[in-house]
């Protein structure tokens, strides 16, 4: 029993988790700052916290796939455009063609996953840099978006509306019965999808052979190949999975704004990469955890929330703050990497 406890402790204090702790620590610090500064405006309420999830679920869902791609040492710039294209599929399909949303979603899934697999194939088999391949994928998806329509299309479908407005109110037990907490807070389909995807991502990375292959490929592709691991299959499947995540993010975004627009989520790919990087994933590959990405998303989304609560700052300060945050994180990462390599 005692040894078991010790092993858990030593597992938790493993230096490989230090970046995750840094992310969690800085998130708590920023959150505590908000709590002190804007407690009177209600920053501490459950609603504010839950809204961080509701307003950023689509970035989070996409960040799950992106984390895996980054761990293999690749990059995917097409996620924003693919998510936007998914929204266009749903909007154009339901509102103009009169299709059922599920048909549109199925079409979007086929599109996203096959585009991802194709890009993975080009990257691995034709040896084209991931940056260039996925950039072309981004241009392509964005172009198809604009071909479908250049104007924003509203999504009007009873099933879609009911899914978008479906919510679970958070309750508390008081005076012998369950009542809704005040101010009213709820979680919706997007939040659940986000958390489920994080859990799936965690499971894949930590508990499956595929997950271990991802780390191995990212750590050193040549050694992985020499060990007989299926490098090509892993890389291609990772891009396919990321395509799936982009489509799910697009569905989530469509549920959030209830419309499709060809220019939506422009620059979204860099937001998602930023989330993963401040969550402790290294762009050189081989290092990253899903739980870090979860807190990376929260950390990135708490900054706009703080600026909204302040009320006097131009929203542009959010961008500058995010840039500074990146700088801090990169410096910490640099410090950790150099100290761990000097220990060896």
């Amino acid at each position: 029993m005692m040894t078991n406890k010790q092993s858990i402790l030593s597992k938790l204090t493993n230096p490989k988790y230090i970046m995750v702790y840094a992310t969690v620590g800085i998130f708590l610090a920023v959150y505590a700052f908000g709590a002190f500064a804007y407690a009177d405006k209600g920053f501490l309420t459950v609603r504010t916290f839950v809204n961080l999830f509701i307003d950023n679920a689509y970035y989070g869902i996409s960040a799950v796939g992106m984390t895996m791609v980054l761990i293999t040492g690749g990059i995917d710039l097409s996620v924003g455009a693919v998510a936007s294209l998914t929204g266009m599929f749903i909007a154009y399909g339901t509102s103009v063609l009169g299709l059922h949303p599920l048909t549109c979603i199925a079409a979007a899934l086929v599109m996203g996953i096959s585009l991802g697999l194709l890009m993975g194939w080009v990257i691995h088999c034709l040896n084209v840099p991931a940056f260039i391949t996925t950039l072309t994928g981004m241009f392509f998806a964005r172009g198809v978006c604009s071909l479908i329509s250049r104007e924003s299309i509203d999504i009007n479908h009873t099933m879609f509306d009911s899914l978008a407005s479906w919510k679970i109110y958070l309750m508390k037990y008081s005076a012998g019965k369950w009542v809704r907490i005040r101010p009213i807070a709820f979680i919706n389909f997007n939040v659940i999808l986000f958390l489920v995807m994080i859990a799936i991502g965690m499971f894949i990375l930590q508990r499956t052979r595929f997950g271990r292959n991802i780390y191995a490929v990212g750590g050193n592709e040549q050694s992985a190949a020499l060990m007989g691991l299926p490098v090509g299959k892993t890389k291609i499947l990772v891009y396919g999975f990321n395509g799936l995540c982009s489509v799910l993010a697009g569905i989530s975004y469509a549920l959030y704004v209830k419309s499709g627009w060809n220019l939506s989520l422009q620059g979204g790919e860099l937001e998602v990469i930023t989330c993963a990087v401040i969550g402790g994933t290294l762009l050189t590959g081989g290092v990253g955890y899903m739980i870090g990405t979860l807190f990376g998303v929260l950390l990135k989304s708490v900054i706009p929330a703080l600026i909204t609560f302040n009320g006097n700052l131009l929203s542009w300060w959010g961008k500058i703050a995010t840039g500074l945050l990146l700088l801090i994180f990169i410096c910490i990462q640099r410090f950790v990497v150099s100290s761990s390599s000097s220990r060896k």
């Binding site: 840099p129 072309t136 994928g137 241009f139 392509f140 198809v144 071909l147 930023t274 961008k319 640099r334």
Partner: protein, 356 residues
């Protein structure tokens, strides 16, 4: 200088494929509309007009930036911040032309600050921002793509805050010359591009600097051991890229005579990187080809002009561009080039046997 110009060698060069691609696109243009190549002279403006001139003119910003980007990629890095720096340069220039909005609330032919400052300060700030990128990479040992991601994320924020989120317009005629004037029958941006290309080419090919860049790109610790100051090379390359982004920013804002912090330079980093890679410079670093980069930049612009000129719905531009670039990239990929080079080698071997 023992370069053998064999068929297999030519097929193995990526620059060849870029030139072939550009020639094919232009050929298609010519077949569809033979007057695509016609150039006319307009005495009133003293400028030449025609689709080819237009391609050169409109590709100016990307060509200028991609000159710096070529060096960055030859070092084995990428610079994502160039688009944001274009916005910063425009914002500063317009702020200096129209500093006090209350006194000068109508755009006219005036500048509030001396014209020299309007030109020099944006360039200096952009060069400093480039130096900041270089500092993170050289002294901090941070991967270039991440180091430059910082300025890419917050550069536009800086540009917006410098101008208080406002968009100024100006009518100052000396400023208009940069983007809309002409010199020796050519549009001014083309002239500036030629000057920049010559300067970069002379600096890298007539001094040892180009060789230093390639050597650091191949193996930075080995080149440090052989006496090259790798840190200095990196700092200079990123500073040059920042400066060139500033020049592109001045051209861009002079074309629209305004600052547009949201859209100025949007996706320029992507186009510049594409131009360099299509031009045959390997993203892993090492040898670079400035000629290839110019061809790459022209390919990108020719595709867009093609789409406009032939009245293909402008919404299709992006998808069209993606497909042509995909074809070029697949043609340039290692297996395909190997395939053609092998066939050429076989033919050469056959010829040699026939001669013997």
């Amino acid at each position: 200088m023992n370069k053998h110009f064999t068929l297999s060698g030519i097929f193995q060069s990526k620059v060849t494929w870029a030139v072939i691609a550009e020639a094919l696109i232009l050929l298609v243009c010519f077949i569809i509309r033979p007057d695509f190549f016609s150039i006319s002279y307009q005495p009133s403006t003293g400028m030449l007009y025609g689709s080819l001139i237009d391609i050169l003119n409109r590709s100016a910003e990307i060509t200028i930036i991609s000159m710096g980007m070529t060096l960055v990629i030859a070092l084995g890095g990428t610079d994502l911040s160039v688009g944001a720096l274009v916005a910063v340069a425009g914002a500063i220039a317009l702020k200096f032309l129209r500093w006090d909005v209350l006194t000068y609330n109508t755009p006219g032919d005036y500048t509030v600050y001396p014209y020299v400052l309007v030109l020099v300060v944006p360039l200096a700030v952009c060069a400093l921002m480039g130096l900041f990128n270089g500092f993170l990479v050289a002294k901090g040992g941070i991967q270039p793509i991440i180091a430059t991601l910082i300025l890419m994320v917050c550069g536009r924020g800086v540009a917006q805050i410098l101008t208080d989120g406002k968009q100024f317009t100006t009518g100052y005629s000396p400023f208009r010359i940069i983007g809309q004037g002409s010199f020796l029958y050519l549009p001014m941006p083309v002239v500036i591009t030629i000057a920049v290309v010559l300067a970069v080419a002379l600096f890298t090919r007539k001094t040892a600097f180009g060789a230093f860049v390639e050597s650091v790109g191949v193996n930075s610790s080995a080149s440090r051991l052989s006496g090259i100051k790798a840190d200095q090379v990196i700092l200079i390359v990123f500073m040059i890229t920042g400066l060139l982004s500033g020049i592109a920013g001045l051209i861009y804002s002079s074309r629209i005579m305004s600052n547009d912090s949201n859209n100025a330079g949007l996706n320029f980093e992507m186009d510049a990187i594409l131009a360099v890679v299509i031009g045959g410079t390997n993203m892993a670093g090492g040898k670079f080809s400035l000629t290839g980069t110019i061809v790459g930049s022209l390919i990108i612009r020719t595709i867009v002009t093609f789409v406009y000129y032939f009245g293909i719905v402008s919404e299709a531009t992006m998808a069209f561009k993606a497909m042509i670039i995909a074809v070029v990239i697949v043609l340039q990929s290692e297996p395909v080039r190997e395939f053609f080079a092998r066939r050429a080698r076989k033919r050469e071997a056959r010829l040699e046997r026939g001669a013997a």
